[in-house]
Subunit: 601 residues, 2 copies
């Protein structure tokens, strides 16, 4: 098999890859995920890279690139085959690490972790006390002891080596490991929010409950498509697809684990417990489950109940005896992340109707009716994360993230006070809401023609420009909000709004009945609720009922890590929950079309 050497700039990372693979695949092997939101279909044009040296050929016409761009070496990474040694430059937009929300509303749970350390001194055996080692342990620990089978061969050795003064690592009543009480290494756990796009991990000391480190990363699976359906399609249509996806997400998780361990200056083997929440597709692909049935009607998941597994068998580079707890799933694409959000929002403690909206690449909605919980997922798409928006970008340096009405004009705030390079999801909502208020944007989502505009401040009127024969609104130099972007936002918002409407209707409730509306998601805390209500993303409830709970999926995973009773609570939440397949309801298309029109003020 011919191999070629390929070097990625600016990192300088170099590796040999078989001839015939694409640059996206090579980059993935090099640990540099390149976003290909269209699933490497060669259509979105987001994966552009510059070939600095070497000749390439394309698998398909790269219509997204101009002749000048091609001449300058720009190529679509997903459509470009490696046929000789190459040097490829990855643009900053791909390479730079993304600001991902890792904070949340704070952790309100008592410390009672399933995996915990107990320092004990055992009586040494004597003629009068010839109990078996496990009997000695059980009676000192005062539990009905079970033993991790892998520990058994070294149990006797360690007890004697440590002179019977040990730190017992327990998972409830199961002895996972025996450490020296004198050396006293920490016993740690990691909580993961495994998102379709981003993955966040937090390291905790399980003895103190204190966070030790936080790390996040793009999900390496991104090279195989930007939404769950594209990923599942990849697994269905390629014989090695499922394995590639599993390897990609394992690499992501293990990179984060390594970063967490480095930050906390501990070995990765100090991690004895991992909790993980993700949507159905993410959880199943991680575990290598056959997820073909999730890619076709009626979208059947493999499992529903929580899983308690060996973390090392699952492929995580942690202590060989560490446990991995994966959240239970409700049904369809409503998976562990929604359950985790409901745990964080304490849906099991609610008395009055409440709504939870988790905005991500996949949008999930949970409605507590007062008795049960209706859950649905909608394919909101990545618009809220800046993708499929012509000047969209993630919330990284240079992104306009906030747009406010000031001095008779729109004022843009840019992350890092850099030169504006694009706009992220929150700014998209802000701009749309403000433009709806000015009337420049009609409720139908149509920009007015310049001649239709009356009584608007001149600064605003000047921003309305024409771009390729269509209206556009200029937010900054080179940052245009185009008519087509408004259409993308309308589709994304309508998916969630229609879902909320349908669930309310099924439950015979109106928005007025909702005592709480929880907004979760990586960017939830940055959304301005009045603007989200203006575009219809949030129902029209008094503002004081809206509660931002940030990355609630991550928060739920942390609660499960630090409190073993979370397992009972999530099981109860699942029993209360009913999966509603929106696509299967005759009303949904109707509601969706109706929701495309922005609500009247």
């Amino acid at each position: 098999m011919t191999e070629h050497r390929i070097t990625f700039q600016p990192s300088g990372r170099t590796l040999n890859v078989p001839a015939g693979v694409t640059i996206v695949e090579a980059a993935l092997r090099a640990g540099i995920p390149i976003e290909a939101p269209c699933g490497s279909g060669g259509t979105c044009g987001k994966c552009r890279v510059r070939v600095v040296s070497g000749q390439t050929s394309s698998v398909r016409s790269a219509c997204r690139l101009s002749e000048a761009e091609r001449a300058a070496g720009w190529r679509l990474a997903c459509a470009t085959i490696i046929e000789e040694p190459l040097v490829v430059e990855i643009p900053k937009s791909h390479a730079q690490s993304t600001q991902i929300l890792t904070s949340d509303t704070g952790l309100a749970t008592t410390l009672a972790p399933s995996v915990h350390a107990r320092d004990i001194v055992l009586p040494a055996p004597s003629l009068e006390d010839d109990r078996a080692d496990t009997a000695r342990l059980a009676e000192t620990l005062k539990v009905s002891l079970q033993i991790e089978p892998g520990l058994l061969p070294m149990l006797a050795t360690r007890l004697r080596l440590f002179n019977w003064r040990i730190r017992a690592v327990m998972d409830r009543d199961c002895l996972l490991d025996v450490l020296s009480a004198d050396a006293a290494p920490p016993v740690l756990g990691a909580a993961f929010d495994l998102g379709t796009t981003t993955v966040v991990g937090t390291l905790f000391d399980l003895t103190t409950g204190q966070p030790r480190a936080v790390a996040s990363s793009l999900n390496n699976q991104i090279a195989h498509g930007d939404d769950v359906l594209a990923r599942i399609r990849h697994a269905r249509e390629n014989s090695e697809g499922a394995r590639q996806l599993q390897a990609a997400v394992l690499k992501t998780l293990n990179d984060i684990l390594r970063s967490l361990a480095e930050q906390a200056e501990v070995p990765a083997t100090a991690v004895y417990s991992v909790t993980l929440a993700g949507n159905t597709a993410m959880q199943q692909l991680l575990l290598g489950l056959d997820s073909r049935a999730l890619g076709e009607v009626p979208f059947v998941p493999v499992f529903d109940q929580a899983l308690d597994l060996s973390a090392s068998h699952a492929g995580l580079m942690v202590n060989p005896f560490a446990r991995l707890r994966v959240f239970p799933q409700v049904g369809g694409f409503v998976g562990g992340d929604t359950v985790s959000c409901m745990l964080a929002a304490e849906f099991d403690q609610l008395k009055a109707p409440a709504l939870l909206i988790d905005i991500g690449t996949n949008g999930e909605i949970a409605l507590f009716t007062g008795k049960e919980i209706f859950c649905a997922s909608t394919a909101a798409g990545p618009a809220f994360e800046g993708a499929r928006i012509s000047c969209g970008m993630r919330a990284t340096s240079g992104a306009i993230d906030q747009i406010t009405w000031r001095d008779n004009d729109l004022a843009c705030h840019t992350i890092g006070n850099a030169t504006p390079a694009g706009l992220c999801g929150t700014a998209l909502i802000d701009a749309t809401a403000e433009l709806l208020r000015t009337g420049i944007l009609e409720d139908t989502g149509r920009f007015l023609d310049p001649e239709e505009i009356e009584n608007q401040p001149p600064a605003l009127r000047e921003r309305l420009v024409e771009d390729n024969g269509a209206p556009a609104f200029c937010l900054a130099d080179n940052v245009l909000l185009r008519q087509q972007d408004i259409r993308e936002l309308q589709l994304a918002t309508a998916a969630i709004r229609a879902g909320v409407e349908i669930l309310l209707k099924l439950a015979n409730l109106t928005p007025d009945d909702l005592r709480d509306v929880f907004l979760a998601g990586a960017f939830g805390n940055l959304i301005r609720p009045v603007n989200a209500q203006r575009i219809g993303l949030l129902p029209a409830v008094p503002l004081d009922r809206i509660r931002f709970i940030g990355n609630a999926s991550s928060l739920g995973a942390k609660i499960a890590l630090l409190n073993r009773h979370a397992q009972t609570r999530t099981a109860a939440l699942c029993r209360m929950s009913r999966h509603i397949d929106l696509g299967n309801l005759p009303d949904f298309q109707d509601a969706f079309v109706g929701a495309i029109i922005f609500p009247a003020e």
Copy 2:
């Protein structure tokens, strides 16, 4: 590293071994265990083999061989180093398969196995029924379902491949495997009695409860010593010792499993459940546990409770999802075999005091006092199995196995009606008891001098001969019962008799109080109780209170395989049991010395 080719006759098995290993080690690698009861110490002389071609050197003087034998090529396999290519002939006595008692008193248990098959038809998913696969399974099976983690990746595939008509292999509420209901392969289990000397396995159909095959074999560990202390010493004194012992017993078990599968004409992957009972050393060495503490005062085992493990992780060649259940242990060398015997004897159902004696290389005694169970083990040694007896042999073809008083003489019965080649344990007891009755043997164990004999039938008097200046009794041509053999029997019997006396004394009981005396062990059923009582091996109770329960350890393992409630029962038995370390009691040496004298008639 220089290697030499070595061929074993008559099997013709050939392999390369590193220069410098002994013939015993080479034979073990070839899968031909050679008995070395002294633990390859070069002292017992039992491991003799004939070197047909090639020169050898010895690690130590082989005092057990005459000059003529050496000239004819005879060598001690344990003391002979391989330094060039060899052809070695293994005498028939080593190679021939031993008749091991695999029958027992029959199986009195209801069929309610932990591992079982359930044939079900699941409703296929539809728009109206989009439950997860595991929810569908749980609701059809009507259990709170758990899933074997290794099955998860293929669960969805198999359900659909088999068109939702499946045979579910369950371990209680845990789904171990999904098979096609149409192909309907059997679901089998194997019960093992893992003895120090012999291993017996029985294959059962877990759906019908019918036995499908029985197989037995010598424990391959025999090459490393013939009793548990020699094995543990081997593990302690050699860096690879524990691993060698584990590999040897795993090979034994896997050979038996292969034989069972061949007999029943099923694949080994049809075995989903294995139960195993052995003494503490056997169970721990099989599982690769650090058993050094078992080799020194106060003889501490690693574990006491029952273990539930993955059979394939433990090294058994069965279905990858099969379970292995290892019996709980009482303490010291009183291990799973004693618990298994107590289960078979229904010690948990007893109302009145009862005694259990399990005669093997390690003798175990359990005394039910009416409230609790005192358990002890005694190093009876292998005399009852024909070892350490000058003309002793196992109960194989050519062994005298029964000696009766007939026509004023002793009449010998030989297994297979072959020419007598030696005597086995039962004949040793018979001969000793009869000679005590005639008076030719004094209660002290001393043979009378010929001139001291009066009033004896001439045939009997003629049998009393002199051998190397010591008296001996001629049972057949070349089969002598020597004075030293009587001494070995006295020591072995005294160990058990003193143990019984001590336990009775601790419990404040006399033999009269015993309602039942259970005699267990591979050769138990062939012992004549009057003779066993005459030599003091069994206490003097009315004969109708003596119950032979044969290989009760094997029977207990079968009960545990076929009835899941056995696990609760064995746990209860262990709670009732107290380990008595006889060697630690000041009375024991006294009782032992007293028990060396045969009881007065």
